[in-house]
């Protein structure tokens, strides 16, 4: 029963809430959709925290996502032992990098009085939640080796079953508790998403790659004859 709540109900609730409340917040409080950068107040420590953190987490998350979306291609990728080793080592290194970056970011918020002044309660909650998740991920990568392989046979089918609304939890219920916690904590962060500055994630300005440089907006373009 508890497994059903944790591995079926909770993920659905988290995702639905994140989407619905995210949309509600976008419509009612668009002003708050921001990354709330604090670089203006503190520059030097930010570099050593923000860059490793963001690049690390972007790559790691993409790997999680790609493997889940294209399990067959991923399986082929890790079929050769050498490629598997490289992948595992890279993953571990990136996890370490991300963890270090995040720790630096947290220390920065504590140490710099200016940045501390613009840190909200939700920011702290988010930072702690992320720290827990990244630490768990690092732990899993370190002590439950070949994750790039067993991930395909545990979490991926479970996630897929959730997506097609035929939940099958037997894929994950037998996993070590720390791995399970990592999975559930991921959904907890999804739940946090619309209540924190994490919303900046969905506003990544990808259109900048092709939009014209100059933006001109008219209230009502009048067309008149000569």
């Amino acid at each position: 029963m508890i497994d059903l709540v944790l591995f079926v109900a909770f993920p659905y609730v988290a995702v639905v809430l994140a989407v619905l409340f995210g949309i509600y917040r976008y419509r009612s409080d668009r002003f708050s959709y921001s990354s709330f950068s604090s670089q203006f107040l503190e520059n030097r420590q930010l570099f050593w925290g923000s860059v490793p953190w963001h690049y690390g987490i972007v790559i790691i998350l993409s790997a999680h996502l790609l493997a889940a979306l294209f399990p067959r291609a991923w399986a082929q990728l890790i079929a050769a032992p050498l490629r598997l080793y490289v992948l595992e080592v890279t993953g571990l290194a990136l996890a370490l990098l991300t963890l270090l970056g995040l720790v630096l970011l947290i220390l920065r918020r504590l140490r710099s009085a200016r940045v501390f002044a613009v840190t909200s309660a939700m920011d702290w909650a988010l930072l702690v939640a992320l720290l827990v998740q990244v630490a768990l991920g690092f732990w899993v990568a370190l002590f439950y080796r070949w994750g790039s392989d067993w991930y395909l046979h545990t979490a991926v089918p479970w996630l897929f079953s959730l997506v097609v609304f035929q939940p099958q939890i037997q894929y994950v219920t037998a996993l070590p508790w720390i791995v399970q916690l990592h999975m559930l904590w991921g959904f907890f962060i999804i739940l946090l998403f619309p209540f924190t500055r994490l919303v900046h994630l969905v506003t990544v300005p990808i259109t900048y790659l092709w939009r014209p440089y100059q933006v001109v907006i008219w209230n009502r373009r009048m067309r008149r004859g000569r």
Partner: protein, 508 residues
């Protein structure tokens, strides 16, 4: 031609008395808020000086504006000095060229309470400075608004003015000599550029130019604190609100303009140095004009601006959707007179290639005045039997090159033409009023300045005795009409200003 209208500005620097009334008027209306205390959408700095934020003109430091691409910058294609499009996404986690609050100053107040509450003691209680960001006591205030006003601390500040790099070591040395020390004021607001660097740098596309009047605004709802605009603007006229996490900038008081009033800094200006009016320009040639070589930049920008009396231009303007009232306003524009007809007003640092639409009439005094027998004289040359000011350009106190570096991208010919005309106007009027200069000499000056008595009179009239209506020719923006298709005019009226329905603060 794709004609657009631009509300443009002229600041007459000879008239600025450096009183900062403009800055205070703006501060009281727009930036007297948490997170915006350090912002001066209008600021007045002393030149030579490092300005606000410190060294803003140094684009090797801040990477603002545009540069020509190609091996040695000779292609006419432009790219942002900051980064390319991919670079913007790559640097989004950390902008390596972002100025921080220390490049401006940490805003503070004083602990006034202590004056009342301090326990009895041997010393006078003091009100110590308290940071408005952290609420903590600041031991030593190291920078503040107009920290280097009137050459204060000039060995540190004025000596580092990036424009001085154009001068020889000897010339710089001379400027420090006690009796040659020279300065003037440079009031700055957003230039509402045609080829704006901030607009181009914003990854979110939150910054835009209003089609109707060319005012550049930042959508507070679209801004996501990617903070590239602050670097992209070479004039450092977009500011980061550290409290709301949004960029903000001068809005040219559009709520005032839309109700027929001059912007607050214009209205309150004590020296009456400010002029505002519409210019019509050809929007199809923006890139081309911004891409010419440094020396041609001023001319190229002038060539964009169209003659509002030319029937062809009027026809094209109408076809582009510009109202007849707007065209009439452009015909009355004092800015058109200063910039195009008389060619006296020049853009600030055109080499940043943003095509700024705020123009400056350069100041004469610091260039021409000289100390003679303990008195400042507007002229020298008496010894050589010349009328005052004939030879003065060559013996300028502040080398012409310095001015050319600021207002004509180094083109001294353009700078000289402006000064010759300004001198001609003075000599002509002096011959007429004070009568200590002969008619022949005045005629000579007019010829050198390539001007006529009629033009000189007109320049004097608009420079020295303009009425409010002559200084500010505010076009009928007819906002209610323009928006009525999309919004109830009454709703709009209630929204005038930033248009917030929620207070602009952090809620998460």
């Amino acid at each position: 031609m794709n004609i657009r209208a631009q509300v443009s500005m002229v600041f007459h620097l000879d008239k600025c008395i450096g009183c900062h009334t403009c800055s205070v008027a703006c501060k009281n209306i727009w930036t007297d808020r948490v997170g915006a205390e350090y912002m001066w959408w209008n600021n007045v700095e002393t030149k030579p000086g490092t300005g606000y934020p410190t060294l803003w003109e140094d684009q090797e430091k801040y990477k603002g504006g545009w540069e020509r691409s190609g091996a040695n910058g000779h292609s006419s294609k432009l790219r942002l000095k900051l980064q390319g499009r991919g670079g913007a996404l790559a640097n989004i986690f950390f902008n390596p060229y972002l100025p921080t609050v220390d490049d401006y100053y940490e805003p503070w107040t004083y602990d006034y309470e202590n004056l009342f509450n301090a326990p009895e003691g041997d010393d006078q209680p003091t009100a110590r400075p308290v940071s408005l960001i952290t609420g903590k006591t600041i031991e030593t205030i190291e920078a503040g608004p107009n920290w280097d006003d009137d050459l204060g601390g000039s060995p540190i500040y004025a000596a580092n003015d990036p424009n001085l790099s154009r001068l020889s070591a000897q010339e710089r040395e001379q400027m420090n000599e006690l009796e040659r020390v020279v300065f003037f004021y440079l009031p700055r607001i957003c230039n509402h550029c045609l080829n704006a660097g901030c607009v181009a740098a914003c990854p979110a596309g939150a910054i835009y130019k209003r089609g109707e009047d060319g005012i550049v605004l930042i959508s507070q709802e679209k801004c996501r604190a990617w903070r590239m605009c602050i670097s992209g603007c070479p004039y450092k006229k977009t500011y980061f609100n550290w409290n709301t996490g949004k960029s903000e900038k001068c809005i040219l008081c559009f709520p005032r303009l839309e109700t027929g009033q001059a912007p607050a800094c214009f209205h309150s200006c004590v020296g009456r140095i400010r002029y505002l009016g519409v210019l019509l320009y050809d929007a199809d040639r923006i890139e081309e004009a911004a891409g010419v070589s440094d020396a041609e930049l001023v001319e190229a920008q002038r060539s964009l601006i169209q003659d509002p009396f030319d029937p062809k231009v009027i026809g094209d303007a109408r076809a582009s959707g510009i109202s007849d009232q707007m065209i009439a306003s452009a015909q009355n524009s004092p800015v058109y007179k200063f910039v195009m007809r008389w060619k006296l007003a020049l853009p600030l640092h055109p080499e940043f290639r943003t095509l700024p639409m705020l123009f400056y009439v350069p100041p004469m005094l610091p260039v021409l005045a000289k100390l003679q027998q303990g008195r400042y004289e507007l002229a020298d040359g008496h010894e050589e039997g010349l009328a005052p000011m004939f030879s003065s350009l060559e013996q300028a106190r502040l080398p012409l090159r310095y001015m050319a570096g600021m207002f004509s991208a180094g083109n001294e010919r353009i700078m000289e033409a402006v000064y010759r005309k300004l001198i001609a106007v003075r000599l002509y009027m002096r011959a007429k009023q004070v009568k200590d200069i002969s008619e022949a000499e005045a005629q000579m000056a007019l010829k050198l300045g390539e001007t006529t008595p009629e033009e000189a009179e007109a320049i004097v009239r608009l420079t020295a005795r303009p009425t409010y209506e002559e200084r500010f020719v505010i076009p009928p923006l007819a906002r209610e009409q323009a928006i009525e298709a999309t919004l109830d005019p009454y709703t709009h009226k209630l929204e005038a200003g930033f248009g917030f329905r929620q207070s602009p603060e952090r809620r998460w």
